[in-house]
Structures are given as structure tokens and as C-alpha cells.
Amino acid sequence: MLSENSVKEISELTSKYATKRSAIMPALSVVQREHGYVTEEGMRDVARILGVRPVLVFEVATFYTMYNKKPVGKYHIQVCTNIACSLLGAEHLMDFLSRRLGIKTKETTSDKKFTLSAVECLGSCGTAPMMQINDNYYENLTESKVEEILNGLR
């Protein structure tokens, strides 16, 4: 069950839109913030609060890549590997992170601290190569800069 605050926040989201269904996406973000991913229970809660059929929530959650369908580590490291970042060594960065963390892409470290993902363009092409950790962008990366960033994460 979602917390009282999350239920209230989702209910209030509907005032922004002409239909309650429009609040599904921001509501899923609320679920993810509380549980770390979009749990089935959380999706059912969203459907109940918004008064829509659960399938309408499920179909949105499964379409958009930013809704995690399973748990991720405390720090979700997403490395852009598209063309602008690739031209400046994104693959080397991925290899370095993979070695450094001891995991492959899409895996989570055994202490549940880090999940590593390769992602499509993150809109930071002028400062390539780059990665996103949770909500933060880290740009113009080198191996030593990545090392420093990882060491700063507790």
C-alpha cells in the first residue's frame, strides 16, 4: 500500500489535467520514488486512486523505459553509448565501469549498491562521454573522473 503522502500527491495530480487518466505517468513516478520501482501493488494503487482500470496503468508502465519493472541498486548508473558519446569513448567507459563494479550491463552488485545500464542518448552530446546516476548528470568523463565519482557515493 502506498503511503498516505503518496496517495494524497497522486490525488492532487489530477487537478493539472482534463482527465484523471492523464495523471498515470506522474503517478507512476510517485510509486517509483516510494518503492524504487513500479511494483504491481503500486500500479494497482494508482488505478484505484485515479479510478481507471489497472490495465491502463500497466500498459503505460511497460511502455516507458524509465519506469523500473524490477528493483535497481541504490545508484543506477546509466551510460550513454549513442553516437556522440561513442565517438569519444563511451564503450571504454562502459568496460571500465563493468570491471570496476564487477558486473555486466543490466546487473546489480551483490550489495545492491550499483546497477549498470547502457542507454540511448541522454541529450548531453556536447559534453560527451557522460553518464547519469539517479537524477544527476556527470559529463566530460574520464576513467579517473569516474573513479572519483564512484568513491564519492556512499
Partner: protein
Amino acid sequence: MFEPVLLKNINTPESYKIDTYIKNGGYEALKKALEMNPDSIIQTVKDSGLRGRGGAGFPTGLKWSFITKDPTIAKYLCCNADEGEPGTFKDRAIIEYDPHELIEGMAIACYAIGAANSYIYIRGEFALGAQRLEDAISEANAKGYLGKNILGSKFSLNMYVHRGAGAYICGEETALLESIEGRRALPRIKPPFPAQVGLFGKPTVINNVETLACVPHIINNGAAWFAAIGPAKSPGPKIYGISGNVNKPGLYELPMGTPLREIIYDHAGGMRAGKTLKAVIPGGVSAPMLIEPDLDIPMDFESLAAKGSMLGSGAIVVIDDSYCIVKAALRTHEFFHHESCGKCTPCREGLDWLVKVLRRVEGGEGEQGDIDLILKLCVDIFGRTFCPLGDGAVMALRGAINHFRNEFEYHVTHKRCMVGGR
């Protein structure tokens, strides 16, 4: 020396705060606009020659004029801030460092078309940008630039941020509307166009961030000032984003029509020592590649279209001789494949097949006939998809093979790359 217009504030400390914006002349255009007739604002934007900066280049004033003037019908403005095509990073700068420039442009646009509600659809990954916009909207509401009876006028406007969640297709205008309505972002068939049936079934204008950011400057400085910048058919300032193998990647605001060579060599510092330019993607990865002899081309809608490429978002990706074109084609094609929404068969199945063939060619397992197969698949996909995503993927791929067929053939024949020796 061209003085930046759209990016002039972004290096100011706390440029994203409303007090900084007002100190630099912000919201004067909104005051001026509210004293004008909405029709005369639309006419001013038409006269300026402003064309959409999201990629399609449709005349902005004309788009606004399609909206019904019936005051009993609700209308909407949606700002497309779902910036996500590889190479493109210009809107993020406006959103993060000058959000009030966008908000002011949106408020003027809403007044012109008679919209009382507006949405900024921002790509979900831009967490800082979304927060800056939320904060800026709150500031604008508190100062009376948004909300009820703006600056004592009869005009009222609500503005909301809607966060996407990692789907490039949301940059397609009808998919964006589906997404705000709480659905999977599958493009709608057109017609009807959003100007007739848009958000929540009501007339809707959808404009890109950079387009809307031009509006306050057009109102402040006049249509003639804007029209005098750059070529007659594609006027105005343009933010070019340059990335890849140049010495100084970044954003450069220049007059529309600035030659590509000047952007790469004079502004972006040219090629890295010992490297030569191999190819340039001139307008986001949908735009077919250009090569060195093409570099004197003016970067505007007409010139690039005449060359068989496109300006798109003005996102320039420079590739030097150390990078494999087959790999570049594969990486960009994997993007389109990953981002295809799956609604229509040619895009869903065609891009999947193409990516499989490209992967085996790039990986040294290509078969004789694969390049012709790729080109045949391109014919089968082009022009047969619901939205431009499939077309964009195909145009880019055809462009790469057109210029660098020898590299593709080398991969097939020698089972390795002619660049890296792999």
C-alpha cells in the same frame, strides 16, 4: 560578430531565476504583447518568418493561425521539450539556464491563440530541467506573469510540466499528446491535425522549446529585425549543437544559414590534431551524412534539403577518420530500433530486421548481398510508416551507404573493419 539572442543570458549567475531574467529585460515582451491584438501577434510572428526549430521547419505563425478563434472552444499549447535525438542538446540549455525565456514565449503564444492551459512536455531524464521549470513557473505565478488575469489583463493562463519517461517517440507531436493523455505514446494518424483535434480532443499548438524562446525577442525587436537575420526563407538566430570529434564541442548560437565549415572550424575549433574529417551528420541522426566537399553548405532548411539532407534540430555530429562508418550506422540504427513504438509493421519489423543485418555486417559476419538487402529493406520501409521515425532511420542509413559503401563492402568481404583493423 553576431551577438547571441537566445543564449545571451545563460552565463549570467543564477540565470534561471526570475529576478535575473527581469533585470535583463525579461517579461517586457509579454507586457507589450498583452497590449496587442492576438491576431496582430500572429501576424508579427508570420512576418518574422520564424520556422519551427524542432526539425520540421513549419512556419510558426501559420501554425498558430490554424487554431479556431471561437472563444467557446478550449485550446491548448504544448511545448515539445522531449529533446532526445542523438546529437541534439540545445533545448536543455534554455530549459536549465533560461526557463523564463521559454515561459514568456509560451505565455505570448497562448495569448495569441487563446489558450488558457499549457503543458511543457519534458523528457524524463532532464530531472534538473524539470525542477528548474517547476520553480520558474511558481515564480512567474507569484509575480503575476502566469495565473489569473495576467498583469491586470483579462488573460489567464495555467502552465504545467509533464515529465516523459524515456521514450523518444514522444517528440512526435501526436505521440506527445497521447503521452499527456496517459497512454502509450503511439502516434495518431493525421489528419485530423492537432490544430483541429489535439490534446483532450481540442485544438492544440505544439511548438519546440527553441521556437517558443524566439517569440519574446520577435515581439521586443519586431518582425523585420528577426527576418533580417540569415536567409530570407529560414531567418533568425539558430542554436547549433556540435558534438563528436571536434576540439570544442558545445552550443553555438549563430545566424541561420551559417556555413557548416565555419561552424566546425571557426567556432568548434576544428578537428583534433592528426585527424581528418570523414563525415558530418548535420541535423540529428535522422539527417543523411555529408562529407568534406559539402562543408560550404549554409546551415538552413532549404540548403540542406537541396543537398538531400536536412537541418533537423541543427545538431551537428562530426566523425573523424578514426571511427568506422558501419559502426556509426549501426549505433544510430540501434537507436531508432530501440525507440520504435511498435504501432506500425514496417517500422517495428523493418527496423528490427535492419539492425540484425547491420550487426552481422559490423561484426564481421556479413554475407554477400547484405548491403543490397539493407537498401531493399530501406525501400520497403520508407514512406510506409505512421510517423517520421521509420523514414528518419532509413534516410540516415541510405546516406551512410551512399557515401561509404566501400566501408560496408570491406566489412562483408574481409570480415573486419578497414578503420580499426579489427
